[in-house]
Protein backbone atom coordinates (compact mmCIF):
# COMPACT_ATOMS: atom_id res chain seq x y z
CA UNK A 1 0.00 0.00 0.00
CA UNK A 2 2.78 2.36 0.89
CA UNK A 3 4.72 1.67 -2.29
CA UNK A 4 2.99 3.39 -5.17
CA UNK A 5 3.74 2.58 -8.78
CA UNK A 6 5.76 5.74 -8.86
CA UNK A 7 7.95 4.53 -6.05
CA UNK A 8 8.43 1.16 -7.69
CA UNK A 9 9.50 2.95 -10.82
CA UNK A 10 11.83 5.15 -8.84
CA UNK A 11 13.33 2.06 -7.25
CA UNK A 12 13.82 0.40 -10.61
CA UNK A 13 15.77 3.39 -11.76
CA UNK A 14 17.78 3.81 -8.61
CA UNK A 15 18.58 0.13 -8.65
CA UNK A 16 20.41 0.91 -11.87
CA UNK A 17 22.02 3.96 -10.27
CA UNK A 18 19.92 6.44 -12.24
CA UNK A 19 17.61 9.27 -11.34
CA UNK A 20 13.97 9.44 -12.14
CA UNK A 21 13.82 12.85 -13.76
CA UNK A 22 10.63 14.51 -15.02
CA UNK A 23 11.80 13.92 -18.60
CA UNK A 24 12.34 10.21 -18.04
CA UNK A 25 9.05 9.85 -16.22
CA UNK A 26 7.19 11.58 -19.02
CA UNK A 27 8.90 9.51 -21.73
CA UNK A 28 7.86 6.33 -19.96
CA UNK A 29 4.37 7.71 -19.36
CA UNK A 30 3.99 8.39 -23.08
CA UNK A 31 5.03 4.85 -23.90
CA UNK A 32 2.67 3.34 -21.33
CA UNK A 33 -0.35 5.42 -22.27
CA UNK A 34 -0.30 4.73 -26.02
CA UNK A 35 1.24 1.38 -26.81
CA UNK A 36 1.62 1.78 -30.53
CA UNK A 37 5.40 1.33 -30.68
CA UNK A 38 6.32 4.93 -31.47
CA UNK A 39 9.69 6.02 -32.83
CA UNK A 40 11.97 8.35 -30.88
CA UNK A 41 10.69 11.30 -32.89
CA UNK A 42 7.08 10.36 -32.18
CA UNK A 43 7.87 10.07 -28.47
CA UNK A 44 9.62 13.43 -28.69
CA UNK A 45 6.55 15.11 -30.18
CA UNK A 46 4.22 13.59 -27.59
CA UNK A 47 6.43 14.52 -24.66
CA UNK A 48 6.97 18.00 -26.08
CA UNK A 49 3.29 18.78 -25.56
CA UNK A 50 3.81 18.24 -21.82
CA UNK A 51 7.42 19.49 -21.53
CA UNK A 52 7.86 22.00 -24.35
CA UNK A 53 11.52 22.60 -23.56
CA UNK A 54 12.59 18.97 -24.02
CA UNK A 55 15.05 18.21 -26.80
CA UNK A 56 15.23 15.25 -29.13
CA UNK A 57 18.67 14.35 -27.81
CA UNK A 58 17.23 14.14 -24.31
CA UNK A 59 14.46 11.86 -25.54
CA UNK A 60 17.11 9.61 -27.08
CA UNK A 61 19.03 9.72 -23.81
CA UNK A 62 15.92 8.96 -21.76
CA UNK A 63 14.95 6.08 -24.02
CA UNK A 64 18.44 4.64 -23.78
CA UNK A 65 18.35 4.94 -20.00
CA UNK A 66 14.94 3.27 -19.79
CA UNK A 67 16.13 0.47 -22.06
CA UNK A 68 19.26 -0.05 -20.00
CA UNK A 69 17.19 -0.01 -16.82
CA UNK A 70 15.04 -2.78 -18.26
CA UNK A 71 11.82 -0.78 -18.31
CA UNK A 72 11.51 -0.44 -22.06
CA UNK A 73 12.39 -2.56 -25.07
CA UNK A 74 13.89 -1.21 -28.24
CA UNK A 75 12.37 -2.73 -31.35
CA UNK A 76 14.34 -2.63 -34.57
CA UNK A 77 12.63 -3.50 -37.81
CA UNK A 78 14.68 -3.49 -40.97
CA UNK A 79 16.66 -0.28 -41.07
CA UNK A 80 13.78 1.94 -40.06
CA UNK A 81 13.92 4.13 -37.01
CA UNK A 82 13.88 2.19 -33.75
CA UNK A 83 10.55 1.83 -32.01
CA UNK A 84 10.00 1.60 -28.28
CA UNK A 85 7.80 -0.72 -26.30
CA UNK A 86 7.06 -0.84 -22.55
CA UNK A 87 5.82 -4.45 -22.65
CA UNK A 88 8.20 -6.36 -20.40
CA UNK A 89 6.60 -9.76 -21.00
CA UNK A 90 8.62 -11.99 -23.30
CA UNK A 91 7.14 -11.43 -26.70
CA UNK A 92 7.85 -10.98 -30.39
CA UNK A 93 6.49 -8.49 -32.90
CA UNK A 94 4.17 -8.87 -35.84
CA UNK A 95 4.07 -6.24 -38.55
CA UNK A 96 0.96 -6.08 -40.67
CA UNK A 97 1.98 -5.62 -44.27
CA UNK A 98 -1.29 -3.86 -45.05
CA UNK A 99 -1.82 -1.36 -42.23
CA UNK A 100 1.76 -1.21 -40.97
CA UNK A 101 0.77 -1.60 -37.32
CA UNK A 102 3.04 -3.45 -34.93
CA UNK A 103 1.49 -6.09 -32.68
CA UNK A 104 2.92 -7.84 -29.64
CA UNK A 105 2.87 -11.63 -29.97
CA UNK A 106 3.31 -13.52 -26.69
CA UNK A 107 5.38 -16.67 -26.58
CA UNK A 108 3.85 -20.02 -25.67
CA UNK A 109 4.23 -20.75 -21.95
CA UNK A 110 7.05 -23.25 -22.34
CA UNK A 111 8.14 -22.56 -25.87
CA UNK A 112 10.99 -24.76 -27.06
CA UNK A 113 13.18 -23.08 -29.66
CA UNK A 114 14.47 -26.54 -30.64
CA UNK A 115 11.04 -27.31 -32.08
CA UNK A 116 11.54 -24.63 -34.69
CA UNK A 117 15.30 -24.40 -35.18
CA UNK A 118 18.05 -26.96 -35.59
CA UNK A 119 20.43 -25.51 -33.05
CA UNK A 120 23.89 -27.03 -33.52
CA UNK A 121 25.47 -29.00 -30.69
CA UNK A 122 27.37 -26.90 -28.18
CA UNK A 123 25.56 -23.67 -29.00
CA UNK A 124 24.08 -22.00 -25.92
CA UNK A 125 21.04 -19.91 -26.76
CA UNK A 126 20.34 -17.12 -24.29
CA UNK A 127 17.75 -15.07 -26.17
CA UNK A 128 16.13 -14.57 -29.51
CA UNK A 129 14.26 -11.78 -31.17
CA UNK A 130 11.72 -12.30 -33.91
CA UNK A 131 9.89 -10.03 -36.30
CA UNK A 132 6.93 -11.56 -38.09
CA UNK A 133 5.21 -10.32 -41.19
CA UNK A 134 1.77 -10.99 -42.53
CA UNK A 135 -1.68 -9.49 -42.21
CA UNK A 136 -3.42 -8.75 -38.93
CA UNK A 137 -6.90 -10.01 -38.16
CA UNK A 138 -8.51 -6.74 -39.16
CA UNK A 139 -6.74 -6.55 -42.53
CA UNK A 140 -7.23 -10.28 -43.24
CA UNK A 141 -11.02 -9.87 -43.41
Amino acid sequence: MIHSAKNQLEESMQHAGRRLTPQRREVLEVLLSQRDHPTAVEVFLRVKSRIPSISLATVYNCLETLVKSGLVRQVNVERDASRYCPNLQEHSHFICEKCGKVFDIPLQPQAKPESVWQIPKGFKLTSFETTMRGTCSHCSK
Copy 2:
Protein backbone atom coordinates in the same frame (compact mmCIF):
# COMPACT_ATOMS: atom_id res chain seq x y z
CA MET B 1 25.76 -29.96 -68.92
CA ILE B 2 25.46 -27.07 -71.31
CA HIS B 3 24.17 -24.71 -68.64
CA SER B 4 27.07 -23.64 -66.47
CA ALA B 5 26.59 -22.03 -63.09
CA LYS B 6 27.40 -18.77 -64.76
CA ASN B 7 24.53 -19.17 -67.17
CA GLN B 8 22.13 -20.09 -64.42
CA LEU B 9 23.14 -16.97 -62.60
CA GLU B 10 22.73 -14.93 -65.73
CA GLU B 11 19.27 -16.36 -66.17
CA SER B 12 18.33 -15.53 -62.61
CA MET B 13 19.28 -11.97 -63.21
CA GLN B 14 17.64 -11.67 -66.60
CA HIS B 15 14.51 -13.22 -65.21
CA ALA B 16 14.35 -10.13 -63.04
CA GLY B 17 15.11 -7.92 -66.05
CA ARG B 18 18.63 -7.12 -64.89
CA ARG B 19 22.05 -7.44 -66.43
CA LEU B 20 24.83 -9.53 -65.03
CA THR B 21 27.61 -6.97 -64.94
CA PRO B 22 31.20 -7.69 -63.85
CA GLN B 23 30.56 -5.71 -60.66
CA ARG B 24 27.48 -7.70 -59.75
CA ARG B 25 29.19 -10.97 -60.54
CA GLU B 26 32.16 -10.05 -58.39
CA VAL B 27 29.99 -8.92 -55.48
CA LEU B 28 28.17 -12.23 -55.52
CA GLU B 29 31.45 -14.11 -55.92
CA VAL B 30 32.82 -12.38 -52.83
CA LEU B 31 29.74 -13.36 -50.83
CA LEU B 32 29.87 -16.96 -52.00
CA SER B 33 33.59 -17.45 -51.44
CA GLN B 34 33.71 -16.22 -47.84
CA ARG B 35 30.43 -16.74 -46.04
CA ASP B 36 31.09 -14.63 -43.00
CA HIS B 37 28.18 -12.22 -43.44
CA PRO B 38 30.21 -9.16 -44.42
CA THR B 39 28.89 -5.61 -44.35
CA ALA B 40 28.62 -3.51 -47.51
CA VAL B 41 31.91 -1.82 -46.69
CA GLU B 42 33.62 -5.18 -46.21
CA VAL B 43 32.24 -6.39 -49.52
CA PHE B 44 33.43 -3.15 -51.08
CA LEU B 45 36.98 -3.66 -49.82
CA ARG B 46 37.08 -7.26 -51.02
CA VAL B 47 35.72 -6.46 -54.46
CA LYS B 48 38.03 -3.47 -54.75
CA SER B 49 41.03 -5.79 -54.77
CA ARG B 50 39.66 -7.33 -57.99
CA ILE B 51 38.00 -4.25 -59.50
CA PRO B 52 39.94 -1.28 -58.11
CA SER B 53 37.69 1.27 -59.79
CA ILE B 54 34.50 0.09 -58.11
CA SER B 55 32.74 2.56 -55.83
CA LEU B 56 30.92 1.98 -52.58
CA ALA B 57 27.69 3.29 -54.09
CA THR B 58 27.94 0.66 -56.80
CA VAL B 59 28.45 -2.05 -54.20
CA TYR B 60 25.29 -0.86 -52.46
CA ASN B 61 23.50 -0.87 -55.81
CA CYS B 62 24.75 -4.36 -56.66
CA LEU B 63 23.78 -5.72 -53.28
CA GLU B 64 20.32 -4.23 -53.62
CA THR B 65 19.95 -5.76 -57.05
CA LEU B 66 21.10 -9.17 -55.85
CA VAL B 67 18.69 -8.99 -52.90
CA LYS B 68 15.81 -8.00 -55.18
CA SER B 69 16.73 -10.80 -57.58
CA GLY B 70 16.51 -13.26 -54.70
CA LEU B 71 20.16 -14.32 -54.82
CA VAL B 72 21.25 -12.71 -51.58
CA ARG B 73 19.66 -12.04 -48.21
CA GLN B 74 20.12 -8.85 -46.27
CA VAL B 75 20.65 -9.45 -42.56
CA ASN B 76 19.90 -6.64 -40.14
CA VAL B 77 21.04 -6.95 -36.56
CA GLU B 78 20.22 -4.16 -34.18
CA ARG B 79 21.14 -0.89 -35.80
CA ASP B 80 24.49 -2.06 -37.05
CA ALA B 81 25.39 -1.97 -40.72
CA SER B 82 23.49 -4.53 -42.79
CA ARG B 83 25.22 -7.81 -43.51
CA TYR B 84 24.79 -9.90 -46.61
CA CYS B 85 24.33 -13.62 -46.94
CA PRO B 86 24.11 -15.82 -50.06
CA ASN B 87 22.44 -18.72 -48.21
CA LEU B 88 19.06 -19.12 -49.87
CA GLN B 89 17.86 -21.92 -47.58
CA GLU B 90 15.31 -20.81 -45.01
CA HIS B 91 17.34 -20.06 -41.93
CA SER B 92 17.84 -17.74 -38.99
CA HIS B 93 20.97 -16.18 -37.56
CA PHE B 94 22.86 -16.76 -34.35
CA ILE B 95 25.26 -14.15 -33.04
CA CYS B 96 27.92 -15.31 -30.63
CA GLU B 97 28.20 -12.77 -27.84
CA LYS B 98 31.83 -13.72 -27.26
CA CYS B 99 33.42 -13.86 -30.70
CA GLY B 100 30.82 -11.83 -32.57
CA LYS B 101 30.56 -14.29 -35.44
CA VAL B 102 27.25 -14.81 -37.21
CA PHE B 103 26.07 -18.37 -37.80
CA ASP B 104 23.30 -19.67 -40.01
CA ILE B 105 20.74 -21.76 -38.12
CA PRO B 106 18.50 -23.95 -40.29
CA LEU B 107 14.84 -24.36 -39.46
CA GLN B 108 13.39 -27.72 -38.53
CA PRO B 109 11.92 -29.47 -41.60
CA GLN B 110 8.28 -28.77 -40.74
CA ALA B 111 8.66 -26.10 -38.11
CA LYS B 112 5.36 -24.86 -36.66
CA PRO B 113 5.52 -21.25 -35.46
CA GLU B 114 2.41 -21.93 -33.35
CA SER B 115 4.51 -24.17 -31.13
CA VAL B 116 6.55 -21.17 -30.05
CA TRP B 117 4.19 -18.20 -30.42
CA GLN B 118 0.59 -17.58 -29.47
CA ILE B 119 -0.52 -16.14 -32.77
CA PRO B 120 -3.88 -14.40 -32.34
CA LYS B 121 -6.88 -15.62 -34.30
CA GLY B 122 -7.23 -14.16 -37.76
CA PHE B 123 -3.57 -13.22 -38.09
CA LYS B 124 -1.98 -14.61 -41.26
CA LEU B 125 1.74 -15.18 -40.85
CA THR B 126 3.70 -15.12 -44.09
CA SER B 127 7.28 -14.95 -42.85
CA PHE B 128 9.39 -14.37 -39.82
CA GLU B 129 12.96 -13.39 -39.18
CA THR B 130 14.87 -14.28 -36.05
CA THR B 131 18.17 -13.24 -34.56
CA MET B 132 19.48 -15.41 -31.75
CA ARG B 133 22.11 -14.55 -29.20
CA GLY B 134 24.27 -16.76 -27.06
CA THR B 135 27.63 -18.44 -27.32
CA CYS B 136 28.76 -20.62 -30.18
CA SER B 137 30.13 -24.12 -29.66
CA HIS B 138 33.71 -22.92 -29.84
CA CYS B 139 33.24 -20.14 -27.28
CA SER B 140 31.12 -22.32 -24.98
CA LYS B 141 34.04 -24.65 -24.28
